[in-house]
């Protein structure tokens, strides 16, 4: 039910709507729940609404932590 997926804003449409792209698949969604959405932003899309903006910096940091944790043991490093 809480299925949501990050997608890139590729165009802003009138009426608080935007076109998002997910690997080339495009879909019009509502961005009424987010202020200041811009083309190039990644947003979390849930039942046709953008719920949250993805913070690229935080994403990078999380991946760094992941890689670090995965490398802690011999198996992970293999």
């Amino acid at each position: 039910m809480c299925l949501a997926i990050p997608a890139e804003i590729v165009a802003l449409h009138p009426g608080e709507r935007a076109l998002v792209s997910l690997d080339g698949v495009t879909k019009e969604i509502s961005v009424a729940l987010l202020d200041g959405v811009a083309v190039g932003d990644y947003v979390v899309v849930h039942v046709g609404h953008a719920l949250a903006r993805i913070d690229p910096e935080e994403a990078r940091r999380t991946l760094d932590l992941l890689a670090e944790a995965a490398a802690l043991t011999a198996e992970g490093a293999a």
Partner: protein
Amino acid sequence: MTAPRPTPPSGGRVEMIHGAGGKAMAELIASIFAPALANPYLAQGNDQAALPIPAGGRLVFSTDGAVVSPLFFPGGDIGKLAVNGTVNDLAMAGATPLYLSTSFIIEEGFPLADLDRIARSIGAAARAAGVAVVTGDTKVVERGKADGLFIATAGIGVVPAGLELSGDRARPGDRVILSGSVGDHGVAILSQRENLSFATDLESDCAALVPLVAAMVAAAGPALRLMRDPTRGGLAATLNELARQSGVGMALEEAAIPVKPAVSAVCELLGLDPLTIANEGKLVAVVAPEAAETLLAAMRAHPLGAAAAIVGTVVEDPRRLVRMRTAFGGERIVDWLAGEQLPRIC
């Protein structure tokens, strides 16, 4: 695509009288179906076609009803789908498809120009598959009693003596080969549904698998256990059917199953599993392990099998489960679809 023919009717619509068995029906058939499907058997002009009996082997007989919505979709239309739906079911038995019948159920008001376009698509698909549409039937139902057009096809093929492919022949140790990416047809159809409103370049894979099958039979011979086309219910349903029919389990490798990025993306957007989505130009083969690589090579050498892959192994399992090692490293069951509601896709 075909020889010159009378200009297709434009602007007109199918009326009840076109199904009433009189002159209007005869004219509809003469102006639309006859030129699009022309062949000597159809030209006999009777309510049935008389055909030479093929020499040797066994007859193979199958039918499919095409009820797809929308009728025209990227990569095909209901006519092409109706032909290939039956042709592929024949080919899955290793048969050479020879003859098709077409039964049209048309909703009053259907545009004649669309009917003409679909008839020509049937003709083209039949020629591509090497079959002749030799007999047919046309009914018209009142507006509101159908969804534009339904087409039921039936087909006759012949399989050479000695080639016995059947869903109950998978044995533990056999390899499971998939001829290409899954989900293309279903997602292409979904992309046309207004209420889902997404856009993709993806096209249906709708195709006749006849030449691929010929290459496979030539390459693997009796080592080929069975083939089946994963249409409605997708790969998941087909593998579960086969597991049930053969009394075996299956062990799949998720990473080996080709899925196009657009199909993955749509599935993520809509919460669908690509393994449950319909294909119309793919097949699953089960083959004895020693012939698997030979068969795979033969398939990859053919355009319809260019992305073929060994996706799993048949295993012993009294519970007949289809299991899958996920790309992530875990394991899970690949079950039949329990009840997701997809638009009509075939």
